[in-house]
């Protein structure tokens, strides 16, 4: 029974972890611009992220190391510093995009400029980090995030052509505007294979005191949580393809994305969209802020835990405090949606520097003992590493030409 509760909560948390401003924005953009043609990219990204989170959870359960910890210890500080600096900078952008998402959600409902809400949202994020525990942050916001299931209901309500939807899961080449097609494909992959999610998942397993006994639970949570999150992302893409594409509406601002829920639900659609965006982004902002503090503290060997009082791990608390301040400040120089697409493309650039060491560590007996990767697992992860490298190389040119 205890395991069922753990799995249920874990799956819900997985949904919350999967769906953030990046997933919402990139799938809406893709559906509006290319119909169902990019559905396969969401499925590919989901497959990759299931594999990677399962491994991160296993690493934490067996060795009690987070990903950052293990990379630093196994490959040394000089190597660790490369993904660390990259992830730190990109996570700051992602954090800005997430805080921006919460502020935009409030703007959509009130009509007041989102910039007025930025300090308020940053304060709320920081306040919860300062006062809350890991369990409150992990589960409270994730359970509230179940509201995002409204996208799935709306997608069914709109009666999309299911045969076409099914065809969209088969990879295809673009019929037009190839640069933009591949840019969106890369952005979706960057949004789904978020480096912050991998370290946060592993660290969460340590905070929750997982042991070897939790390996089966980890497998179910990684697969179930990410799959459910993926269904919501797929629903957003389908809705954008059905509502926005046929009218010739591209998604250049969040105002345009609101229609995907006002069409099926009328006035409630606006409130549901704002609530979904706000809660998903608020949860993700908490996770990204915490991850910035986790990665830094784990990298430099400081005290860290969200379950400790701030004075017991002062440097850890100082990092998330500074991160929230910088993230909020970035919103005064950049538009939230553009920050989102940029940060998702940059996520793709740094992913291989984090995914490749994971492959090395997952085959190290010193860390995983008898729970190392099997041959099939290694082949699959090698495929993910290859995808990550290709995506990283093309991400910046595509951002310039198609972003």
């Amino acid at each position: 029974m205890k395991n069922f509760v753990k799995i249920g909560l874990g799956v819900v948390t997985g949904i919350g972890g999967f769906l953030d401003v990046g997933a919402i924005a990139t799938t809406a953009l893709a559906g509006a611009a290319f119909g169902f043609q990019l559905l396969w990219v969401v499925l590919l990204g989901t497959g990759c992220v299931i594999l990677l989170t399962e491994m991160c959870g296993r690493l934490a359960a067996v060795s009690h190391h987070s990903l950052a910890d293990a990379i630093r210890e196994r490959l040394g500080f000089p190597y660790f510093s490369i993904p660390f600096v990259g992830e730190f900078l990109v996570d700051l952008l992602v954090l800005a995009a997430e805080i921006g998402g919460v502020a935009v959600a409030l703007h959509l409902v009130t009509g007041v400029s989102y910039l007025w809400f930025v300090p308020l949202c940053a304060l709320a994020v920081w306040g919860l980090l300062w006062l809350g525990t890991f369990t409150i942050i992990e589960r409270g916001v994730s359970i509230a995030g179940l509201i995002t299931l409204c996208f799935v209901v709306a997608a069914c309500w709109m009666h999309p052509p299911w045969a076409e939807v099914a065809r969209g899961v088969i990879p295809s080449l673009p019929s037009r505007d190839g640069v933009r097609y591949w840019f969106l494909a890369v952005s979706i992959l960057g949004a789904l294979i978020s480096p912050y999610l991998l370290n946060f998942y592993a660290t969460g397993a340590i905070e929750d005191k997982w042991t070897v006994k939790d390996i089966p639970v980890n497998r179910v949570i990684a697969t179930g949580g990410m799959s459910f999150g993926s269904v919501i992302a797929l629903a957003i893409l389908v809705l954008a393809a059905v509502v926005l594409g046929p009218r010739g509406i591209q998604v250049d601002s969040y105002e345009q994305a609101v229609f995907i829920l006002t069409r099926p639900f009328g006035r409630w659609g606006l409130y549901l969209f704002a609530a979904s965006l706000g809660i998903a982004c608020f949860g993700a902002a908490l996770q990204v802020s915490l991850n910035l503090a986790y990665v830094t503290a784990q990298g430099f060997g400081w005290n860290w835990s969200e379950n400790l009082k701030p004075h017991e791990d002062a440097r850890f608390a100082a990092v998330y405090t500074a991160a929230v301040l910088v993230g909020a400040a970035l919103l005064f120089v950049g538009d939230p949606l553009k920050l989102t697409t940029l940060s998702m493309a940059l996520n793709a650039v740094i992913a291989p520097f984090i995914v490749f060491p994971l492959l090395v560590i997952m085959n190290d007996r010193a860390y995983l003992r008898d729970h190392r990767n099997h041959a099939i697992g290694n082949v699959l992860v090698a495929g993910v590493v290859l995808i990550a490298f290709v995506v990283a190389v093309v991400a910046i040119p595509l951002e310039v030409l198609g972003g």
């Binding site: 009130t110 393809a241 059905v242 250049d252 105002e255 009328g266 040119p397 030409l401």
Partner: protein, 135 residues
């Protein structure tokens, strides 16, 4: 070591090359036309939603404000590189936005719908069919 340096150099050259080339003038003009069509369609849909009480009037006004900002910025960029004539469709949308705002402020749904219908026929959007393999 030399091999790694070579890879890094090629990657950086690729990135900077792509950044330096940027987009051709034709692409910039086509993108502006697409954006103008997209915003025209957006204004039509937001007005339709407002007339069936699915969206409040402040939402219509904030959407028109975003449309103005985005199109003005895009039109300015195209005018500075291609010439004034290239921003025609964007100017068409920009000219009608204040009229739409006035109609919404008055609560005149019929006038607002007339404005957006005329807008969409003047600047037709490019629809994307909801299919997996567009022809």
């Amino acid at each position: 070591m030399r091999f790694r340096l070579w890879i890094v150099t090629v990657l950086l050259a690729g990135c900077f090359g792509a950044a330096a080339c940027g987009k051709s003038q034709d692409v910039k003009v086509a993108e502006l036309h697409d954006a103008a069509g997209s915003w025209a369609a957006t204004l039509k849909l937001v007005t339709e939603e407002w007339t069936r009480d699915a969206l409040p009037s402040h939402f219509v006004q904030s959407t028109t404000s975003v449309a103005m900002t985005e199109l003005q910025r895009a039109a300015r960029r195209v005018r500075s590189t291609v010439g004034a004539a290239a921003s025609g469709p964007a100017d068409e949308v920009l000219a009608r936005v204040p009229l739409l705002n006035e109609a919404v402020a008055r609560g005149d749904q019929a006038a607002a719908m007339d404005i957006v219908r005329a807008l969409v026929s003047a600047v037709p959007p490019k629809p994307t069919p909801p299919v997996a393999r567009p022809r």
